[in-house]
Structure formats: structure tokens, C-alpha cells
């Protein structure tokens, strides 16, 4: 009898406790720490946790604002933001590319950035309507196996990659936002028909799919494939780690105006539901501060977009990269690109 009572009491207590803890964590996720709603920030981050979590920690350390990050591919998070609409718990979208930001903005979900916040960023790297701004710049490059190929043998146009000479030798990362933006740029410069034909040509040519740019570079560096489409900084990151002289993989830029050398940004926008959230505004300004820009230069080998911050050593100047003539704000048709990638079976 008394044993039964103890058991029953325990069971009820456990259930009650469970209910409480469930509710508690639920509210803490959406409203943040006890310091009040103004001091918390939910960021949807298309940039990977491994890369960017230390920077977020630095932000919290310097400002005291708790930051909860939800990581995913930029396109995935953009689609999620559109699905969530006004109900989104996110205050800031930190995208790996301009296209995903453009897509969320096209859905009417981005608020204007605070006046003057992004003035230091050159106009080419932020939205004309002031709804998002680039934080860092990056260029698309072709990574090639320096043991099997000389620089002169590397194709000068991505359109050559469907050539049978490169059968089973090309690596791409179709779920990666930078790749998707590059496809969008190709659609804008070469047209949908030619782009789709090119993608189908890649598939027919046995293109290798990878989850991440870093894995493509590893495969090229290991001699598993001869060519890979990646962003420039992956090479510099790896070279810094293992020593440039130990790199089997090398990088090449395509001919001027070829979509293969698209210059893109990783950037941020504030969701319209958080238009007045001071923490969100502070976060955006902080990302453009010299110290944060310096952090990117030193840790990710991207281009700082704010003048006065020295670029990483060995990088060609940002304005010397000659990509296709496509304004970043026009890369917004991410849904169309995703559909095309699914149609040809790459996604």
C-alpha cells in the first residue's frame, strides 16, 4: 500500500516535472534567457557551425547578448523562413550567399536595415533597397589537381566541363548556396535553356556530388577527381593548415565574364518580425565592425567588405576577379534554380 503510494507519487512528480521542463525549454528557446527579450537573438545561419560558432561566441562575449543559432544550408533556411512567414522565431538570417537573401526578401520578409548601418559596404555588395548587406566577399574558382594538370590545361570556361575529357572528373556541391547562386547567375547570363542543358551535360558526364565545398577540395587534393567548383577561401584555409607547398590541389579562375568566377557575398538581413529588435540591429553593425571583419580575414580567408581592413595575404584583389556582369540582388530566383536542379536530378 505505502509502496504503491510512493510509486504513484513518483510517477506523478516525474510527469509534472517533465511537463514543466518541456514548457520551460520551449519558452527559453523562443524568448531567450531571463535577461529579457531585447537581449536575445535567434539567428538562422547558412554558414556552418564549425566555421562560425566561435564568432557568435565572440559576439556574446563582447555584447552580453545571448545568441541562439539554427544551422542549415542557406537555401534550406530560406525556404524555411518563407514557410514560417510572420511566425518565424528568427530575428536575423545570415546567409552563405546573396541569392538566398534575395529570395527571402522577394517574399517580403526582410525589414530595412537600420539607416547607415551598411554604408561602409560598397554598393555592389549590398541590396539596393537596403534590406540586406554583404558581410564578406568570396569568388568562385576551379580547384584542380596540380599533379595531373598544369594551369594551362584547366578549362577557362565552366561550359567546357561537359566535355568528355572531364568524364567522372568534376566535383560539385549542389546543396551549397554558393553553387546555387552560380547556377542562378548562369541562368541570367546564358539563359535557362542553355543552363539546363549544361547541368544535364554535367550529369551525363558523371559529375560527382559532394555535400560541402571542403569535401570537393579534399577529393581534388587526394587526386580522386581532377576538377572541382568551389569558393576561393577553402583553398586558402586548407593551405594555411597544411602549408601551401604541401597542397596538391591548386586554384584557377575562369576567363573574364564566365559565370565560373562569380563574385558573391555572405550576408545578413533582419526579418520583418524583428524589425525593431535592437539586438538584431546591433548584431548586423557588429558584423561590419573592423574587429569582426578582421576575424573573417584571419579565420576564413574571405574578403573583408569594409574599407580599411587588410585582406588576407596571397589573395588576388577582390576587384581584380572578373565574374559575369550580374548584380547580386538579381540572384533572387533561388526557387527557380532549386527546381531546375531537382529536375535534372542533382538535388
Amino acid at each position: 500500500m505505502s509502496r504503491f503510494r510512493i510509486t504513484a507519487t513518483l510517477a506523478v512528480a516525474a510527469l509534472a516535472l517533465a511537463a514543466c521542463s518541456g514548457g520551460q525549454s520551449a519558452t527559453s528557446e523562443s524568448a531567450g534567457a531571463s535577461t529579457g527579450p531585447a537581449e536575445s537573438l535567434t539567428v538562422y545561419s547558412g554558414r556552418s557551425e564549425e566555421l562560425i560558432a566561435p564568432l557568435f561566441a565572440k559576439f556574446t562575449e563582447e555584447t552580453g547578448i545571448e545568441l541562439a543559432a539554427r544551422y542549415g544550408d542557406s537555401a534550406e533556411l530560406a525556404a524555411q523562413l518563407v514557410e514560417e512567414g510572420d511566425a518565424s522565431p528568427a530575428a536575423v538570417f545570415f546567409s552563405q550567399d546573396a541569392g538566398a537573401l534575395g529570395a527571402v526578401d522577394a517574399a517580403g520578409l526582410l525589414a530595412p536595415l537600420p539607416a547607415g548601418a551598411a554604408d561602409a559596404v560598397p554598393p555592389a555588395y549590398r541590396a539596393p533597397n537596403g534590406h540586406w548587406t554583404g558581410v564578406t566577399g568570396r569568388g568562385r574558382v576551379i580547384a584542380y589537381d596540380g599533379e595531373q594538370l598544369t594551369a594551362a590545361e584547366v578549362p577557362t570556361s565552366v561550359f567546357d566541363l561537359t566535355d568528355p575529357a572531364w568524364k567522372d572528373q568534376v566535383g560539385i556541391a549542389p546543396t551549397n548556396a554558393s553553387f546555387q547562386s552560380f547556377v542562378t547567375a548562369m541562368r541570367l547570363t546564358a539563359g535557362d535553356t542553355a543552363t539546363k542543358a549544361w547541368l544535364e551535360g554535367l550529369v551525363a558526364n558523371g559529375v560527382k556530388k559532394y555535400e560541402k565545398n571542403g569535401l570537393i577540395l579534399d577529393a581534388v587534393d587526394a587526386g580522386q577527381i581532377k576538377l572541382g567548383l568551389v569558393n576561393h577561401y577553402y583553398w586558402y584555409e586548407k593551405a594555411a593548415e597544411v602549408g601551401a607547398e604541401n597542397m596538391r590541389a591548386q586554384v584557377a579562375f575562369t576567363a573574364p565574364a564566365d559565370p565560373g568566377t562569380l563574385v558573391n557575398v555572405a550576408g545578413v538581413g533582419i526579418l520583418s518580425g524583428a524589425a525593431d529588435n535592437p539586438a538584431a540591429q546591433q548584431f548586423v553593425s557588429w558584423l561590419l565592425s573592423p574587429s569582426a571583419q578582421q576575424w573573417f580575414v584571419e579565420n576564413t580567408y574571405e574578403y573583408a567588405l569594409v574599407p580599411g581592413v587588410a585582406q588576407a595575404e596571397g589573395l588576388p584583389a577582390l576587384d581584380s576577379l572578373r565574374g559575369p556582369d550580374v548584380p547580386l540582388a538579381e540572384l533572387a530566383d533561388l526557387p527557380g534554380t532549386l527546381m531546375m536542379l531537382q529536375d535534372v536530378g542533382l538535388l
Binding site: 535567434t42 544551422y71 544550408d73 530560406a78 518563407v82 514557410e83 533561388l334 538535388l347
Partner: protein
């Protein structure tokens, strides 16, 4: 409260709630699909991708099932009928891969052989981890068959093999067939291995299309097709299992089959074969994990992070299991005590989770919480609900068998001694069946801790579990950093599973004659 033989209204109402909760993800998915309109459904269905995905998934199921039968049945024969050294060890080794989530096994192989990818890689790993589904029940069946039939066949002039094949094997086929259908269900629902090896089977295509599309209709349509295929397999499994009849030649008590002496050459071959299987299923993953662990990583292991992930996994899974136990109680009691058509229907509906792969429940609950229950969106509560729906069948099964073992007369006696209906029930049936119910809850807890796809889709922002931490590290090929998480997951899965198996072994030995529940324990205990 109720006349004898008739369930109380409260019990039926509570069971109705359970059935409603269990069927909600599927129902909402259907609503969402129908809502898209016939044109969109048709265009999603008729895309060539739907066809290739279906073909890939079915091929994968067939290849893995064939491998499990071709290898698993002879292994079961060895374990059941041959006299071998270290028999107990081989039996344990053959069952152990079941404790390893497919994505852990896949990760371990990829870490060792980074070039592994594609259909055959996934088929290999899935066959290795799901082989026990065939080996365990077939071994049990072969052991329990009365040798009398075979002896009759021998006396009529059959050679030993022929006698075995025509007299004994037909009695073991239903077990093997039911096991292979479970393998098929496992393969169809598996997300981890096909995703890591980049095979475009249903679960991966649904997940990709959920993530990389601004319109989730096609993901939902594919999910419905997947559930249909799973339901077909479950139906087939029920039919096959129902046919498990044992032939007997006499009315006396059955004997156990005698073990056969192999020639020394045959014995060596048998031990080599069993060793080879154990190396592939357990040795390679263990070697790979330990090597990764000893090699260290770029960033040193963050013990706080590992502890936090373990605590998060445990916390959410505990919530899910408590919810499952609470929901299962009414249906379990109803099913154990009142076998009517409506109670059967309520029980069947509550088993929905059995046919729902994690990726499907995740997909449905993301939309459901966002659209209908915004307060639950991206909360621990939504994730716990997903676990409860997915693993409710385990909890109902445990509740049902343990309640059925309590004689109803105890409760009736308590009533005659003046207890109210609820109190009488609490003091007799509930109290006696509590250990079994709790074991069911523990089982749900362990299974939920290994769950991957629904966790990826539903977890609150900032919440990392063991499974998601392992996943994100594997995705960026940080194999060394993933190893501690993989080992923790295996420990989580294996140690308590072993304790449970031991406990139920003891129970089956003490309950003379043995009952249905413990006899089925190895499979229902460890299976995902």
C-alpha cells in the same frame, strides 16, 4: 463502472485520444497533400524522379532482404543445429549489430574507407545491421521444432539434408519470412545509411526535397507513397506471421532438436564464416571508431559539449517515452482485457508509428506545429511528440503483454473488498504490471535517443543531441571529432539493451512455461 466484459467509457475515450494522437501526423500529411490539389499531386507523382526513387528503394529492399536470407538462414542453422565451440558467443555476436544505428555503422565504414558511396555500399551496411532480424527468429524457430518430423522423414528413407529441408525447414520459413519483411521495413525507413552513402532512396529524396525547395508538396507526396509501401510490408508481415503453425506427430511433450556434429573441416569453415560476419558487422566499425578516437582531431574533444548532447538526448527522449507510456496505458489495457472489434481498431490505429519512417513524422509535424500549433513550433514538446508517435507501438506492446499476465480476478477481488474501480485497478493490475510497463518505457527512451531524421527536422534552435552532433560532424567529414559521439551512442544503445535482454531472460526462466512477451524480447528490445 462497467459490466464485466465491457470496457468503461473513460478507458475507451482515453484510448480514442491515443489513437487520435498516433494518427495525427499521417492525417495531417494527407490533408496537406490533398490541399495541394490534383494537378500538383499529379505533377509530383508523375515526375521521373518519383519513379526512379521508387525503383531505387525497392531494389535496395530486395537486395538487402536477399542478402539477409542467403546469409542469415544458414547462419541460423549453424547457431541452432550445429555443435560449435563458444556457441553462446556466436549467438550474441550475431545479434549485436542490431544495437548499432545504421548511420553509426555507415559513418564508421566511411571513416575507414572514404571512397565508399552509392547503392552497394548502402546495401552492404543495411544488410549487416539488419541481418539479426532474420537470424534471431529463424534460429529460435529451428531450435524449437520438434525433431520427430525429421526422424519420420529419415525413417522413410530421406537423406539427412533432404529430411531437414522437407520436414524441418518449412516450419522455420515463416519466421525467416517475417524477419525478412522486418528487414524490408527497416531498409525502407532508414535514413542514415542512404543519406551518408548518397543513395536516392525515398527517405533521402524526401529530406532533400524538404530542405531544397520552396514548395514542400512534392516531399509530402513522396512521403505518402513511402508510407503506402511500408504499410504493404507490415500487412505482409502480419499475414506471414499468422501462418506460423507447428506440426506435431504426437500428443506428448515436444523435444528440442538435437545438435549435429560437424566434421572438423566443416567446423573450421563454420567458425571462419561466423568470424567473418562478426568482423564485417562489428569488428570493422569498432576498429574504425577506436582508431579515429586515438588519432585525435584538429579541435580537441569538448567534454562539456559531449555531456550536453548526451543530456539533451536523454532529456528529450525521456519526455518522449513518458508521453508514449502515458498514451499507451489506455490502449494497452483495452487490448489486453477487451478484445472487441472497436478495441482492435483503436489498437491498430495507435500502431500507426510502425509504418511511419522518422523523416515522414518529422515532415508532417514541422508543418503541423507551424500552421496549427505555433506555440509548439521548434520546441522540445514537438520533438517529444514525434518520439511518442514513432515508438508508441513498443510501449503499447509492453503494456499489453504485462497487463495480460495479471489475472483479472485480482482486480475483481479488490472490488469485492470495497475498493473503487480506479483504486482497485491501481492496487492490483497496475501495480503488478508496472515493471513491464516501465521496461517498455525504457525501450522507447533508448530507441528515441538514436533517432536521427525527425530530430534533425524538429529540434529546437540550439538543441544538439548525440545523433545530430554525430551527423553534423560526419557531414563535414570530421570523422575523428564524430567518434566520441558514435561511441556514446553505441553505449547508450548496447548496454541497456543487454540489461533488458538479461532481465527478460530471467523473467522467462522464472515464469514457468514461459510467456509470449519474454520469448519475443531480443527483437523487440533492440530493434530500432
Amino acid at each position: 463502472m462497467s459490466r464485466p466484459g465491457q470496457a468503461s467509457r473513460t478507458l475507451v475515450a482515453l484510448s480514442g485520444v491515443t489513437a487520435l494522437v498516433a494518427v495525427t501526423p499521417l492525417a495531417y500529411l494527407l490533408i496537406r497533400v490533398l490541399d495541394a490539389g490534383p494537378e500538383k499531386i499529379a505533377s509530383s507523382l508523375l515526375r521521373s524522379r518519383t519513379l526512379t526513387t521508387t525503383v531505387t528503394s525497392i531494389e535496395l529492399v530486395l537486395v538487402v532482404v536477399a542478402a539477409c536470407l542467403i546469409i542469415g538462414v544458414p547462419v541460423a542453422w549453424l547457431l541452432a543445429r550445429a555443435r560449435l565451440p563458444l556457441k553462446g558467443l556466436w549467438i550474441v555476436l550475431a545479434a549485436l549489430p542490431l544495437a548499432m544505428p545504421s548511420y553509426v555503422a555507415a559513418y564508421a565504414w566511411i571513416a575507414e574507407f572514404p571512397a565508399m558511396s552509392g547503392f552497394w555500399a548502402a546495401a552492404l551496411i543495411l544488410a549487416l545491421v539488419s541481418m539479426p532480424y532474420v537470424i534471431i527468429p529463424t534460429t529460435a524457430a529451428l531450435r524449437s521444432i520438434d525433431p520427430a518430423m525429421e526422424e519420420v522423414a529419415r525413417s522413410l528413407g530421406r537423406k539427412p539434408w533432404s529430411a531437414f529441408w522437407f520436414a524441418a525447414m518449412p516450419q522455420a520459413w515463416p519466421a525467416a519470412a517475417a524477419g525478412s519483411l522486418l528487414v524490408g521495413l527497416y531498409v525502407l525507413s532508414d535514413f542514415g545509411a542512404v543519406a551518408l552513402f548518397r543513395v536516392d532512396a525515398f527517405t533521402r529524396v524526401i529530406y532533400t526535397s524538404y530542405r531544397a525547395s520552396f514548395d514542400r508538396t512534392s516531399a509530402a507526396v513522396l512521403a505518402v507513397v513511402l508510407v503506402l509501401l511500408a504499410a504493404i510490408l507490415i500487412y505482409a508481415e502480419r499475414r506471414v506471421r499468422g501462418r506460423t503453425a507447428r506440426w506435431r506427430t504426437g500428443s506428448g511433450s515436444a523435444r528440442r532438436a538435437t545438435e549435429i556434429d560437424l566434421t572438423s573441416r566443416q567446423r573450421v569453415m563454420a567458425v571462419l564464416a561466423l568470424t567473418g560476419l562478426a568482423i564485417l558487422g562489428l569488428g570493422v566499425p569498432a576498429f574504425s571508431l577506436l582508431r579515429r578516437l586515438s588519432e585525435g582531431t584538429r579541435r580537441p574533444l569538448d567534454l562539456v559539449e559531449l555531456a550536453t548532447a548526451t543530456a539533451s538526448s536523454f532529456g528529450v527522449s525521456l519526455l518522449g517515452s513518458l508521453l508514449a507510456v502515458g498514451l499507451a496505458l489506455s490502449v494497452g489495457v483495452l487490448a489486453a482485457r477487451y478484445r472487441t472489434r472497436s478495441s482492435r481498431a483503436l489498437e491498430a490505429v495507435s500502431y500507426s508509428g510502425h509504418a511511419l519512417p522518422g523523416v515522414v513524422v518529422g515532415l508532417s509535424l514541422v508543418s503541423l506545429t507551424l500552421v496549427v500549433l505555433p506555440a509548439m513550433y521548434q520546441t522540445v514538446a514537438a520533438l517529444a511528440l514525434a518520439y511518442a508517435v514513432l515508438f508508441l507501438p513498443k510501449s503499447i506492446g509492453a503494456t499489453r503483454t504485462s497487463v495480460a499476465m495479471v489475472p483479472p480476478v485480482l482486480e475483481q477481488t479488490a472490488r469485492t473488498l470495497g475498493r473503487g474501480p480506479l483504486r482497485a485497478w491501481l492496487e492490483t493490475t497496475f501495480r503488478l504490471s508496472l515493471p513491464g510497463i516501465a521496461a517498455g518505457g525504457l525501450l522507447v527512451l533508448l530507441t528515441a535517443m538514436k533517432e536521427l531524421p525527425a530530430t534533425l527536422m524538429l529540434r529546437p534552435t540550439g538543441l544538439d543531441t548525440l545523433a545530430t552532433e554525430l551527423w553534423s560532424r560526419t557531414e563535414i567529414a570530421a570523422y575523428g571529432a564524430a567518434a566520441p559521439y558514435a561511441l556514446t551512442l553505441i553505449a547508450v544503445a548496447a548496454i541497456p539493451a543487454w540489461l533488458l535482454t538479461r532481465a527478460s531472460d530471467r523473467a522467462s526462466r522464472s515464469a514457468d512455461g514461459g510467456t509470449e512477451a519474454p520469448a519475443r524480447s531480443p527483437l523487440s528490445t533492440v530493434g530500432t
